[in-house]
């Protein structure tokens, strides 16, 4: 079995690397379109042109783009993400801390939303057509489409300003323990939970409904198995496969797509890092940030593929017969 899994994974890995490389090219040369130059961005509009030129030279940002790209790629291969123009220090620590922050937030989100969404989806499928199903479907549908800034504001008002139950900012004081950190993470996590809940619940419901009406489920019922066993052994496992893929895809979003939430809760995640770098023309930072987001997405997708493959023997053991 592993014999079939190995080449499959290698091929996936190679494709992922190709994707990332293409991404780096697109991002790099896309960056060249951004107006302004790094020194101008650092020194501000009123700076003396001589100072701008001097700083550009110092930063090395006046070299030809291809040269910058090649030296950047060369660095990347040897593990060096380059120097931030704006901060004049290596990019890696910025990316590292932003990534850790984003991962913490994403982990909090998923720790809440995955059980909740799957539970609701399973319940809705089991009660298909009944009021509880309609409730979950309509609530899921409506919540999913509420932009994060709308729900964030409501949550901030209620929990941080009116009730003062939860801290307003997502950033915890330095050296805080995990519990304090968690406390700070709950509020920013909730808008995402709201967005993702419906998505996961609906996907789970669809998978469940399909599995429930599948012939093999009927076989299991007709074997005389108790309903509970039919569910746990025959239905759930097959029903949750598509949900896994959805969750993986959403993790990429939860990592990089939270510009709005990060800016509202002043959370130093990778999304705000990318946006900030784009505005500051901090190319090395921007490229590294985008590549990190892309790499994370690629990795989660890869992981989802692996999990799906492990759970679905049809994929694991190769083609038919």
């Amino acid at each position: 079995m592993s014999g079939a899994l190995g080449p499959f994974l290698l091929k996936r890995l190679a494709l992922s690397l190709l994707t990332l490389w293409l991404l780096s090219v697109v991002v790099f040369f896309g960056c060249q379109v951004l107006p302004g130059d790094p020194a101008r961005a650092i020194l501000g509009p009123l700076a003396d042109p001589r100072a701008v030129a001097a700083l550009n030279e110092k930063l090395g940002s006046d070299r030809p783009p291809v040269e910058i790209y090649l030296s950047w790629m060369g660095g990347l291969i040897t593990g060096d993400m380059g120097q931030s123009y704006a901060y004049r220090s290596p990019v890696a620590p910025f990316i590292g801390s932003a990534l850790v922050n984003s991962l913490k937030l994403a982990a909090t989100v998923f720790a809440i939303v995955v059980p909740l969404g799957i539970g609701a989806g399973v319940l809705a499928a089991l009660r298909a057509g009944r009021p509880i199903d309609r409730l979950i479907s309509v609530a899921g549908l409506s919540l999913t489409v509420i932009p994060e800034f709308v729900s964030s504001i409501a949550l901030i008002l209620v929990f941080a300003v009116l009730l003062r139950w939860l801290p307003l900012s997502a950033s915890w004081p330095a050296g805080s323990g995990p519990l304090v950190q968690l406390q700070h993470l709950i509020l920013p996590a909730l808008p995402l939970v709201i967005v993702l809940f419906g998505y996961i619940a609906r996907m789970t419901r669809a998978g469940m409904v399909e599995a429930l009406s599948a012939d093999y489920t009927r076989t299991a019922i007709l074997k005389g198995l108790p309903w509970r066993t039919v569910l746990s052994r025959h239905v759930l496992r097959n029903a949750l496969l598509p949900t896994i893929t959805v969750i993986a895809a959403q993790m990429g979003y939860a990592l990089g797509g939270l510009v709005v939430v990060e800016s509202l809760f002043r959370y130093q995640g990778i999304g705000s890092l990318v946006l900030g770098a784009a505005r500051a023309k901090d190319f090395a930072m921007l490229q590294a940030g985008i590549l990190t987001v892309g790499a994370f997405f690629v990795v989660t997708t890869l992981l989802a593929d692996i999990v799906t493959t492990l759970l679905d023997p049809r994929l694991r053991t190769g083609g038919r017969r």
Binding site: L141, V145, I146, P147, F149
Partner: protein, 292 residues
């Protein structure tokens, strides 16, 4: 189960109109569709006609009457430069209902074209385009949109094109999957055997058969387009001031919300939410009706 299947098919001889009527009829009997379409129509009417019936010029400032609470004079109060919130909320439907459908259209048309080509030709065409699409999809849409907007500067046409293009890969993926199913059906082979050209097969033979998923994808995308554009406006990259717009108004006013000036934000928030929910209710009902 083989028995149950023919029963869901109309009996031979039923006219086509009967089936079309069936979809429309089913939709009109679906409460969630009715609610959704009512909300959508309400905002559409506002988008088109609100400027002619709102009580105040939505742009007119009144610096001596800023941040007035809702009253008989100003039903939804006034904002930070004394503009009438009620008028701005109603007229605010115009911007989003112009940009979002256009962006959806751009995305759907581009995505359908890409999906048809990759799905139909397969092989290296599919591999190369598929890889590029995956590159785009490996980044959150909002990030891609923001980067492009930072580079090009926000303007309505740019937002339309950018949001449309970031949606295109998603539409393309759906269309491609649908095309792959169709491609293996024998009518495509029959057309090929007849010597039909690839563009003819794609547009005349395959396209009509994949319109239901495209319509569904389009309506779903419309919901997300509203979501995305509202978020972009909120971040300052969408609709530009002084155009009345919900996301923009929320961004401008959420700081004063804590001061108790809730009316500057609440109505815009509710409007955004209602429109998106409306679109999604309609989309979901349509999806069900087409699937039935």
């Amino acid at each position: 189960m083989s028995e149950a299947l023919p029963l869901t098919e109309p009996a031979p001889g039923l006219a086509r109109e009967a089936r079309t009527r069936g979809v429309v009829g089913r939709l009109l009997r679906t409460p969630s569709f009715l609610i959704g379409i009512t909300i959508l129509l309400f905002w559409a009417v506002c988008a088109v006609f609100a400027p002619s019936f709102v009580p105040y010029d939505p742009y007119a400032d009144d610096l001596l009457n800023t941040l007035q609470p809702p009253s008989a004079e100003h039903w939804f109060g006034t904002d930070q430069i004394g503009r009438d919130v009620f008028s701005r909320v109603l007229v605010g439907a115009r911007a989003i209902l112009t940009i979002a459908p256009l962006a959806t259209l751009v995305g759907t048309v581009a995505g359908t074209a890409i999906g048809l080509i990759t799905g139909y030709f397969g092989g290296w065409v599919d591999a190369i385009i598929g890889r590029l699409l995956e590159v785009m999809l490996s980044l959150p849409l909002i990030i891609v949109a923001l980067l492009v907007l930072v580079a090009l500067g926000p303007s309505t046409p740019t937002v339309v094109v950018v949001v449309g293009l970031v949606f295109a890969p998603l539409v393309a993926r759906t269309v491609r999957a649908a095309v792959l199913t169709e491609r293996h059906l024998d009518y495509v082979a029959a057309a090929a055997v007849r010597g039909e050209s690839a563009p003819y097969i794609m547009s005349v033979e395959i396209l009509p058969n994949i319109t239901p998923p495209i319509i569904v994808e389009g309506t779903v995308r419309l919901g997300y387009a509203i979501f995305t554009i509202a978020s972009l406006s909120f971040l300052g990259f969408g609709v530009q001031p002084p155009t009345p717009d919900w996301g923009l108004a929320i961004a401008e006013n959420y700081g004063v919300l804590i001061g108790g000036f809730w009316w500057t934000v609440v109505f815009d928030t509710a409007a955004t939410a209602s429109l998106i929910v409306g679109v999604n209710l309609a989309a979901e009902s349509l999806q069900r009706a087409l699937a039935e």
